[in-house]
Amino acid sequence: MIISLTAYPKLQDFFTLYKGLIIEAFPFVIIGVLVSVIVALFVDEEKLLKIIPRNKILSHGIFSLLGVFMPVCECGNVPVVRRLLGKKFDVSHAVTFLLAAPILNPITFLSTWVAFGFDHRIVYIRLIAAFIISNSIGILISYKKNQNDFLTERFYQEVVCEHHHGSKIEQAFEIFFKEFIEVMSMLAIGAFFAAISQTFIPRGYIESIGSSPIMSVIAMIIMAFVISICANVDAFFALSYANIFSTGSILSFLVFGPMVDIKILTMLRTTFKPKLLFIIVGLVTMMSFILGLTVNYFM
């Protein structure tokens, strides 16, 4: 509105890219937050979960698809996971849900579709890979005899119930703003890094990493771990690297990021014991890495 940066084109472009990412992602943030509000107030998990079949494969499959009815961001998923565990559901089912829900839902599908309009294969591979990874890890965990061994002491001590004060309207506003601030602030940080790497870091440096079929995947997985952007808008962040980084590495980012990152691990620390966290991180990393290499080899 006031200050013109025409004299500093690099800086001007930095702000343009920063604003662009935030502006493009904004509608999807709002939609995601709206869904969170509706789900928190109106969806009763008990009824939903009564219809889960006994069969190991089917039940995990259904849990991985429950994200369609549940909040889309990790911040919203972890309380749901804790509630599931509190209601005596298996750790393996909770893990499958945790890994799949951020990706396998209409909003993430939509934002990925919009961002990668030039190559919809990326959308399909993202969804299929997420389905396979979340289900296989869950099924693997389900073979452990006593799954409650994975839960921390603190989890049993904590009262697993959320007190909501006030009327439904008050709660709605509270959840709406709290989630918005949460998601938007993470997006702002991510946008900052994306814009910096696009404007101020010498291109040749990034290009050499981005074009290498192996290094690019490693770099993107590291970035996905560090940058904790919500799954419903991380496609736009990844898009800014789509020109330089290999397709496989972009997909690794899109699959690894929503499953494992600093923020998620911090939130899970009070629920799962370190050994389970190691298993999850290790398997997700390995499978995302293989995904990235495979895509780079074939595409």
Binding site: L5, Q12, E24, I30, F236
Partner: protein, 275 residues
Amino acid sequence: MKNIYYGVLTGAIAFYLIVLYSTEKLSYYIHPRYNLMTLIIAAFTVLVVVASFIYEARHSPKMLGSAAIIVLAGAFLPRPFFIAIFIFALFIGSFALIKKKAISFEDSKKSLFLIVTLAVIYLFIPKPLSSSTANQRATDFNTLNRADSASGVLLTGFNVNTKAYSLGDWVASINSNPDIESYVGKEVAVSGFVLNANAEKEDTFIVARFVLTCCAVDARPVGLYVESDSKQIENDDWVEVTGRFKIIEIDGKKTLIIAPDELKKIETPRNPYLY
């Protein structure tokens, strides 16, 4: 109190998108087909924020009164002044809330990021991407007219009248028919921003635009060489070039270049990108 503070942050961000839409600069950041959707969602958000204010303040007319005063101040104070005070007040507000234990330190850090975001989006004049990014993203300027932009335009009139071709049309055409000899002598009338005036080769510049799929973050530059020794043309000026194609050698390669009959500066267009 916390809800009001968060509401202000949220509403301010959403309001900015409405401002961008009404000043027709939303297209600097995203594909125009998303403009309306963005406006609707932004307007909806502002409504939610206003509704939450009314709900929170329903028992205290004093709060509604002060809110009305703020809105009036915003309408009558000089804009930069108001924005600066607004940002400053948000900043102070977060400290006040921490002191009152209304929000945690963690939450206030998040609010801080958003206040900085607000400052950035409101304080700097919106502009489309510049030649700096074009240089950053173009690997080889000889392929600037060979980018894979499927403009989907039905290119008729190639043998009759090419004056109506836009820069995007020419790029699509060269993509599908790279035999540059067939372009010599064709009439050209395109507009774009100036890139690398006199840098690559003496007395040439590139008339360029960015192609984007969804938003500014994926913009890639395309362009055509123009022959000109004009000293008044600078990088990032927007120009309209009318002339005909001819072929010269640049870096040992035969390249199409426009020999202009007319070259004039224009205003930054409402839709500066190609899709």
